[in-house]
Amino acid sequence: MVRHGLKQILADEFKKAVFGEARNAQEALARIWKEAWDVVVLDITMPGRSGLEVLREIRKSSPKLPVLVLSMHPENQFAVRVLKRGASGYMTKESAPEELVGAIKKVLAGGRYVSTFLAEKLASYLATDTQKPPQELLSDREFQVLRLIASGKIVSEIAKELSLSVKTISTYRTRILEKMGMKNNAELMHYAIQHQLA
């Protein structure tokens, strides 16, 4: 029912387009691998394997093929993560069907699509985050690890001190570097000294 309706709407706009339909992950992947498509409109919830797995397969086999995810799942839970996994756009099913046309045009042109609401939210999130010093993005535990790194301790010493495994500390270190936008311990130390954190 949904596929049929969508096709009707899109056919009005893209008069010469060829449409292909798939009822599940298997069918979708089979057609994507065999045939050449310009864009994929993908649901997450399907019988059998999830749309997110289809997305992963598409990213492997056809990295350039734009995928617009159209799902029932709430935008605030799914959109950012689905985009991170390589989708070109995320759209919930209650968005106006006319918006779908715009979204498809955008991803066809190589762009990314998010709803105006989400775009605004992301923008304001970025704004609040850049006002804060980067170390405030860290959790207590991460901050603790940062200070220990900055004090010149090596990972195994920190692990011992916090009675956590070396692996766990290394992962925390990676997350800290990620959150702070840094590449190595030296930068961390430099930052810590500058901001008198050590």
């Binding site: 029912m1 949904v2 049929h4 309706g5 969508l6 009707q8 709407i9 009005d12 997450i44 919830t45 019988p47 059998g48 394997r49 999830s50 997110l52 797995e53 029932m72 799942h73 709430p74 605030n76 839970q77 799914f78 993560r81 099913k93 209650e94 106006a96 069907p97 006319e98 860290l138 959790s139 207590d140 535990r141 991460e142 956590l164 495994s165 692996k167 766990t168 500390i169 992962t171 925390y172 997350r175």
Partner: protein, 379 residues
């Protein structure tokens, strides 16, 4: 009967018979015979002399205690000092009767038998109680499991089927209203209203589905679900809620996800209700094959009485959920500093951990069913 004197033995039997007791007696004199007798069917009661030529009553008592602690042991002896008597009673003898007061023997035997019976009854009752506890626990675990399955099923049905139907309606309506002649204003307005009604209904469907079981947990994994829940919590309560994790892979195991997520939700509920906190810190990491979730708040700190309060069903539920997968929950509080909840569940011990959950729902259901029974019998 441990008795070296045959005529004393007769006197004892006579005393019992006179009181209307029906019995058979096996009389032994040496420790070998005694042991052999004990080795066979245990007697209802042991009557023993204290001083014997080749054997002594004290050893007889010790042996009886070791082999048949439930059988009453009565000394029937010519002499026994008070101190010795008390000493034997302390060591497990049931009673002592002097041979010059054999009239006391039958009542003593009666009482000993009655007490033994009562003890056995009590033991049986305790055992029954323990069993019924066990059954109740198994039942509660089962109910929890069934409830979660049911929630998931309804959540999916509502989300997928109703959601899909509404989406279809919306799309068709949009197509239709695009074709309405411009001058039919009333119809266009009506179509627009219908469309926004459908939107509201979609949102209701989504809310119901998420409340039952958030799709993010099953589609995007545990970390995503916890981060989302923390974010929701922060927005709703104004309590700052940060999540840090040190995991390199997505946790997709359905049972593990359920347990961690529900415990996390329960912990957040407790924080709102009791903690008076302004900040919550959550850590998720792996340590020695266990997946560990640590939630710390800066509130008033849970007290020892609150932790051990049997009425706190929430805490009990958290523990039971973790125990289901062989894990545990530690709760500690420091007054005015806050409360820390640590959930630790073996990750490697669940071979399902790396399995995909996107298979057909029947196989999934039966698999998690099996898991539950395994987990339950592991206790």
């Amino acid at each position: 009967m441990v008795e070296d004197d045959a005529s004393d033995a007769e006197l004892i039997k006579h005393a019992l018979r006179k009181d209307g007791l029906l019995f058979t007696v096996e009389r032994v004199e040496t420790s070998e015979d005694y042991l052999q007798a004990l080795d066979q069917e245990p007697p209802d009661v042991i009557l023993s002399d204290y001083a014997l030529p080749t054997f002594d009553g004290y050893t007889a008592l010790t042996l009886a205690q070791k082999m048949h602690p439930e059988v009453p042991f009565i000394f029937v002896t010519g002499t026994m000092g008070e101190e010795v008597a008390i000493e034997t009673l302390k060591n497990g003898a049931t009673d002592y009767v002097l041979k010059i007061r054999l009239a006391r023997l039958a009542p003593a035997v009666h009482r000993a038998l009655r007490e033994t019976r009562e003890r056995a009854d009590r033991k049986r009752a305790v055992e029954q109680l323990r069993q019924s506890h066990e059954q109740l626990r198994a039942l509660s675990v089962y109910l929890q499991h069934v409830r979660e399955e049911e929630r998931m099923r309804i959540s999916r049905a509502v989300h997928d089927e109703l959601g899909q139907a509404l989406t279809g309606l919306k799309i068709d309506l949009s197509w239709l209203s695009g074709r309405l002649p411009r001058q039919l204003n009333a119809l266009i307005t009506k179509a627009r209203e219908m469309s926004s009604h459908i939107d509201e209904t979609i949102q209701t469907v989504r809310r119901i589905s998420t409340e039952l079981r958030p799709g993010i947990l099953d589609h995007l994994g545990l970390v995503a679900a916890i981060e989302w829940q923390a974010n929701e919590f922060q927005t709703r309560t104004g309590i700052e809620c940060k999540v840090a994790h040190a995991l390199n892979h997505t946790i997709m195991d359905e049972n593990l996800n359920t347990v961690f997520f529900r415990i996390f939700q329960e912990t957040l509920t407790n924080i709102i209700r009791h903690a008076n906190a302004s900040r919550v810190e959550t850590d998720l990491y792996e340590e020695e094959g266990r997946l560990i979730l640590e939630v710390r708040d800066n509130g008033r700190g849970i007290t020892r009485e609150q932790i051990s309060n049997i009425k706190s069903i929430g805490l009990l539920g958290m523990r039971e959920r973790a125990a289901l997968l062989g894990g545990d929950v530690k709760i500690s509080g420091t007054p005015k500093k806050g409360t820390k909840v640590t959930v630790s569940i073996p990750d490697a011990a669940t071979p399902r951990a790396n399995k995909r959950h996107h298979e057909n729902s029947y196989s999934r259901r039966s698999r998690s069913g099996t898991t539950w029974f395994e987990a339950n019998s592991r206790r």
